[in-house]
């Protein structure tokens, strides 16, 4: 990989009481790539996402984006340094309509938009994610896929350099999944760097440039999707010793 390192994580450590959720994690994300963060349930993937986005505070280690140390900054400051995310359990603002949900992302970013400008930008973005018709529908009334789209739209409204997608493709039916994959690929083509936690193998193979695999809080593999998915250590983590 010749491009520049955008995000660098080093020695990241997080324990909840006696449980070590993330153990000395270390990886880099290069500009313009899609990094898949894989691993069995409970291996600490979402905790890593939470540590990067500032939803949780790390015990040790460093998170650096474009040379700027953002370790343990409050979430709103991390958002201002160019990181946006979606959540594993989709989090929209249910009583606000779709325009307002997008405006939430526009109004408090680094170069904020408000009033008519924000409304126009929100409508453009809704059009881009395919929700233009639902502009005035309360977000709580949307279907599951549309709520996921809306959440992605809010993250994009923040104009991030790095987008964190936490199982954004989970729970979609086959045709919705194809739409979702197309949408993510389009974002990559526009130059966005993405870290995605994902279990859907089709999506991982077709989207990810590189994968980091975690087990029990630690990194066990790092490489292209084909490399890591054939790594005996990874197979053991998912399927147990007898299959390795």
């Amino acid at each position: 990989m010749t491009s520049q390192v955008l995000l660098s994580i080093d020695g990241l450590h997080k324990a909840f009481g006696g449980l070590i959720a993330v153990n000395q994690m270390q990886f880099d994300v290069h500009e313009g790539e899609i990094l898949g963060l894989l691993g069995p349930n409970g291996s600490g993937k979402t905790t890593v996402m939470n540590l990067i986005s500032g939803a949780l505070q790390a015990n040790e280690g460093k998170v650096v984006i474009s040379g700027k140390d953002i370790t343990n900054l409050p979430a709103h400051k991390i958002s201002h340094s160019g990181i946006a995310r979606t959540f594993q359990l989709v989090r929209i603002l249910p009583d606000l309509d779709c325009i307002e949900n997008i405006e939430a992302g526009l109004a408090y970013r680094n170069n904020p938009l408000w009033g008519d400008d924000a409304q126009k930008a929100a409508l453009d973005l809704l059009d881009r994610i395919g929700l233009a018709k639902q502009a005035h529908t309360p977000a709580g009334d949307l279907t599951y896929i549309d709520q996921k789209r809306l959440e992605l739209g809010r993250a994009l409204a923040l104009q991030p350099k790095l987008l964190l997608l936490d199982e954004w493709l989970a729970g979609l039916n086959p045709s919705e999944l194809q739409d979702g994959i197309t949408l993510v690929r389009k974002l990559k083509d526009e130059g966005l760097t993405i870290i995605m936690v994902e279990h859907v193998m089709d999506a991982i193979r077709s989207l990810c440039d590189r994968c980091v695999v975690m087990n029990a809080g630690a990194k066990i593999a790092d490489g292209t999707p084909d490399e890591v998915l054939s790594d005996p250590e990874v197979v053991r983590a998912y399927l147990g010793d007898s299959h390795a």
């Binding site: 986005s53 500032g54 939803a55 409050p74 979430a75 709103h76 958002s79 201002h80 946006a84 995310r85 959540f87 359990l89 989709v90 989090r91 929209i92 603002l93 249910p94 009583d95 606000l96 307002e100 405006e103 939430a104 992302g105 109004a107 408090y108 970013r109 680094n110 904020p112 408000w114 009033g115 008519d116 309360p138 977000a139 709580g140 009334d141 949307l142 279907t143 599951y144 896929i145 709520q147 809010r154 923040l158 729970g171 039916n173």
Partner: protein, 328 residues
């Protein structure tokens, strides 16, 4: 957003006409009704100010009387030493300082802890003031003899209410007000959208506290005598919460719909059952919470535009993480 848009001028103009008309009330009614009008307007300010912060954030604050009492005491201490407008400014400053301190130390608390803290705060402030009066000034209770008539109090409160409504109206259309709504919906999302939630909450808490403090300051001359038990009576905080909840704390004019009937009801209750007032107040509280969880305004909206929630997601996953009643 331009201030000269018709959707701004129309409601503000209408409000100005109504308030101008209300200013002539003393010409038409006698002292008893003026006293009732003062109660209504003072509770209207308190309940609307309370809702400005607690409506969108769903933080139930029982600290209303802390700020009200601080306002009243500022007048009792400074009233005879400087002009009344200056006293009001001092009261507002005192309220701001206390609200900033309380805000930064407590707004990280969520739900029931915040409720308990604000209730405890009332007792704390009352005890501190009592201690000071007993040990330093050696005089419990103060007299407030100021040349301020009942009508003056009414006009001041009316002006304060007008300013409060205008503030709320502008706030609802501002980025700050929008931030508060997002925080009320989902605080985690708010943080990840780049909102400094602590600062927003403290700012609104302070704004709401300043109006409560000024109400206390304006009302002080009406009592002539105050002591910590009168000025920091926790009953007032509960009354304000009940009124705001009855009216509907999530709309600017919602609390007013609760203030008017309940002030009249309290008037009847205190006159007819002075010894059982607290018990009856508790019953009223329960009835409201059971029968009208969305307040009067919620009832109105329910019948005006029935919200359709029939669309359910295809995979049966309709659990949107909605932060229902943080205080519950």
């Amino acid at each position: 957003m331009s201030i000269l848009k018709p959707d701004f001028i129309k409601p503000v103009g209408l409000g100005a006409v109504i308030f101008a008309a209300l200013a002539f009330l003393p010409n038409f009614v006698d002292n008893y009704y003026m006293s009732l009008a003062i109660s209504v307007v003072s509770f209207a300010v308190l309940a609307t100010a309370w809702s400005m912060f607690s409506g969108p954030t769903r933080y139930i604050s029982l600290a209303t009387v802390v700020f009200f009492g601080i306002g009243a005491y500022t007048v009792a201490v400074l009233g005879e030493h400087m002009a009344f407008p200056l006293v009001l400014i001092c009261a507002a400053l005192a309220g701001t300082v206390i609200a900033v301190l309380v805000g930064f130390s407590t707004l990280r608390l969520a739900g029931v802890y915040f409720v308990i803290f604000t209730f405890g705060l009332t007792e704390l402030v009352r005890q501190v003031v009592s201690w000071y009066e007993v040990n330093v000034t050696r005089e419990m209770g103060r007299y407030v003899f100021l040349d301020i008539t009942q009508n003056d109090i009414y006009w001041q409160l009316l002006a304060l209410f007008a300013i409060l409504l205008l503030t709320g109206f502008i706030l609802a259309r501002s980025r700050l007000g929008f931030a508060l709504r997002i925080i009320g919906e989902d605080e985690t999302v708010a943080k990840h959208c780049g909102i400094d939630v602590t600062r927003v909450k403290v700012a609104l808490f302070v704004l709401s506290a300043v109006f409560m403090t000024l109400t206390g300051a304006i009302m002080a001359p009406r009592w002539t005598y105050i002591d910590p038990v009168i000025a920091f009576n926790p009953m007032l905080s509960f009354q304000v919460v009940i009124m705001a909840l009855l009216g509907g704390p999530r709309r600017l004019l919602g609390p007013l719909l609760g203030v008017i009937p309940l002030t009249l009801l309290f008037e009847v209750l205190t006159a007819s059952f002075p010894n059982h007032f607290s018990i009856l107040l508790g019953c009223v509280f329960m009835v409201i919470v059971y029968l009208l969880p969305g307040g009067v305004i919620g009832l109105y909206e329910k019948y005006r535009a029935p919200k359709k929630r029939t669309l359910s997601p295809p995979d049966g996953n309709n659990t949107t993480p909605k932060s229902e009643e943080k205080a519950a």
